[in-house]
Homo-oligomer: 458 residues x 2
Amino acid sequence: MGNTLSLTAFVMNTASHITHGTWKQPEGQQRDFGQLELWVSLAKKLEEGGFDALFLADVIGLYGDYEGGWDFHVRNGLQIPSNDPVVLASALAANTNRLGLAVTANNYQQPPFSFARQLSTLDQISKGRIAWNIVTGSSDNGFKNLGHDGLVSHDERYDTVDEYVDVLYKLWEGSWDDEALKKDRETGIYSDPEHVHKIHHEGKHYRVEGPHLVSPSPQRTPLLFQAGASTRGKEFAAKHAEAVFIATPNPEVAKALINEMTDIVARNGRAKEDIQFFQGLSFVIGDTEEEAWEKSRQLEEVTDLKMMIAHMGGGMGIDFGEWDLDTPLEDIETEGVRSMFKWVAQGIPDRTPTLADLAAHHTKNTRIVGTPEQIADELAKWLDAGVSGINVMNAFIPSSYTEFIDKVIPVLRERGLVKAHDNTARTLRSRLFGRDKVNERHPAAQYRHYFTKENQFV
Amino acid sequence: MGNTLSLTAFVMNTASHITHGTWKQPEGQQRDFGQLELWVSLAKKLEEGGFDALFLADVIGLYGDYEGGWDFHVRNGLQIPSNDPVVLASALAANTNRLGLAVTANNYQQPPFSFARQLSTLDQISKGRIAWNIVTGSSDNGFKNLGHDGLVSHDERYDTVDEYVDVLYKLWEGSWDDEALKKDRETGIYSDPEHVHKIHHEGKHYRVEGPHLVSPSPQRTPLLFQAGASTRGKEFAAKHAEAVFIATPNPEVAKALINEMTDIVARNGRAKEDIQFFQGLSFVIGDTEEEAWEKSRQLEEVTDLKMMIAHMGGGMGIDFGEWDLDTPLEDIETEGVRSMFKWVAQGIPDRTPTLADLAAHHTKNTRIVGTPEQIADELAKWLDAGVSGINVMNAFIPSSYTEFIDKVIPVLRERGLVKAHDNTARTLRSRLFGRDKVNERHPAAQYRHYFTKENQFV
């Protein structure tokens, strides 16, 4: 909204999310992620410090094997143990007033009726501050935890999630008209039955009668985040997402991706301004450039490259544990690695890239090192590229965020790169888009006043 | 634990739970159940005032028809709208320190893996204060909301929940050994893989690979509540429940039921002291007996008998809307009513009972009217009958509880009928049973050290 950057904090309810190994340092309080106090304190700091939302990533199962199994993941705390984000979001909603709270969940974790009710309840108690990051599941073990034989095919996952969100939209937007809720002590009418509808959904994957049990929450449909990168994923995002999480290597690539997406968005009957892009970045901040690079060097020292490569391979279905970290990438004969070779090589033109370089590449690639002023210079470029927000990744919780708040945000404010401090309690969608509900071009909107009293007895 | 009564507050995240119609009065702040502040304030009062737990009832669908449909339910707020209890419990956990929080959920609402994770997360952030009230679903609409053709048969429901809890026990008790979690910065070991296990559950209704994603919470298995009243339900409770919610008409009946259950408990290899009984009661409190009865008369005046009978019939599958409230019960030719006739007639020997009498019977039957001293006298009888706790039902939130706290609890304390005020933060199970985990006779305990490193690669 306007030419400023929104800020979200990208975290996971686990000890080692992305910058692996840092929980082993005293500064890495994420080691104690099971203690609510850590999160409440962080959420309050983010809210006070000018962040728009806390974004909770999630995976409902183990990453793929490393060194032949999952011992490595357990030993190093690589996203296991991990706790439920919906439960955490509720506890944080009860302890904040303005901060948005984004939860990640795939469509296999709960039947749509139960999930719709939990999110509507969250949106009510938070007074409209909830976002849902729609994922389709990517972990073989995750599917085996939920009754499947293993990872469901990419296409079937997207077919299923298409229907899942359709059910949710019916419940969130169509089941209760705006006029339904009365709570009228005089007439004794709590809700007007003319305006509360069953949805009678009968699809290929889901059957849901309704009505939705929760009366309309401030946003009805929570703000919808998505991060699909495949062709089908981009189509899905262009159709449904209001905020898209991207992890591009530089503003130019971001700009190209945003342009590509804008075309797909238009093809889906939506407008450019209906969708915002949040670039994932992490920061190493110094009072001088030298200090920043010294801190960066220290961070690289405590970053566990084996964990980095286990995480990356676990997501790709490649067990990199077969190779030493100093193995030249060109010696690793797998399709996925060959395609990344050039990408990694660009960053280190002076020598042959190794597995360790690949491990380090991803986070270094999205890390900005410098003084607050230099960081502001860089962020201005992302803003110019069309990015609406930065999803701030961390090395240490809470210090990655407190440093950013204390040192970088004041400079960003001075330069008008972020909004001025705003104490108004408002919905998350209002904060990002200036309105509480999805607009008329969003597919959820088709179900407004779609169900009539007549068809609900079908 | 000892010869005192525990106290739980029996509420639902809705406007009209049991004493129907009272939301229409200014005193009935449950009208605004969607506002978190109401619940946070209540929870803090209960905690400070000496209650052991807040018990959140739930139904995941509409009650059966009244007057030919569900308009009546919507118009009167009869358990619709209603919000999710797990989400509410988390927000309350974050705002209390000692109060137990019991959530109701049936085994169809979420796959066992997802549900186990949410409850473990709740138990962690609450530091062990969570109970689960196990229900099997009773609403036809509820099943249609969750993908079924309608109400699943009673036997199949119990078969399914038997397997569901078995999966949960494996995740909660067996997947992580006590020695597993290290969080050790020196060695860099977060968890010891020798002590984290997949469960490889393959049953008739569920397939779950594991491992559980959440490290052991303070109670592991949350305290288990149940309220089964059928033969199969009693067997289930005797086997699994640690606290049983009963709604008997008087201490004699309670005593007989407790004796009956004690035999079944023994047959299931558990001991009398492994299971506690919580009697549901409501209270009308006066400084004098006359004042109490005048308040009781006023409460009857504002109680909506049509809602009472709609609720009762909706649970029985009888649409009582066909009959006027003054219809003599003997004229209503349905099996369910004939069996209740004698029960209602006992309370009004001087005339022929009507549908209105049946409507009023249930709550009046479990309502104690009197001065704090008289109420204490009555509660002493329940304690003598073998009841361990009172599940305090309300007419008005919060005043039914604040009055009980201000006027009755001091007298109960004086007489040693409830525990002295205890500021210790402890788990809910410790509060009720003096230990954090289920004991060795509980079926969940069989899975301790059940899974070995060897069998997890099966």
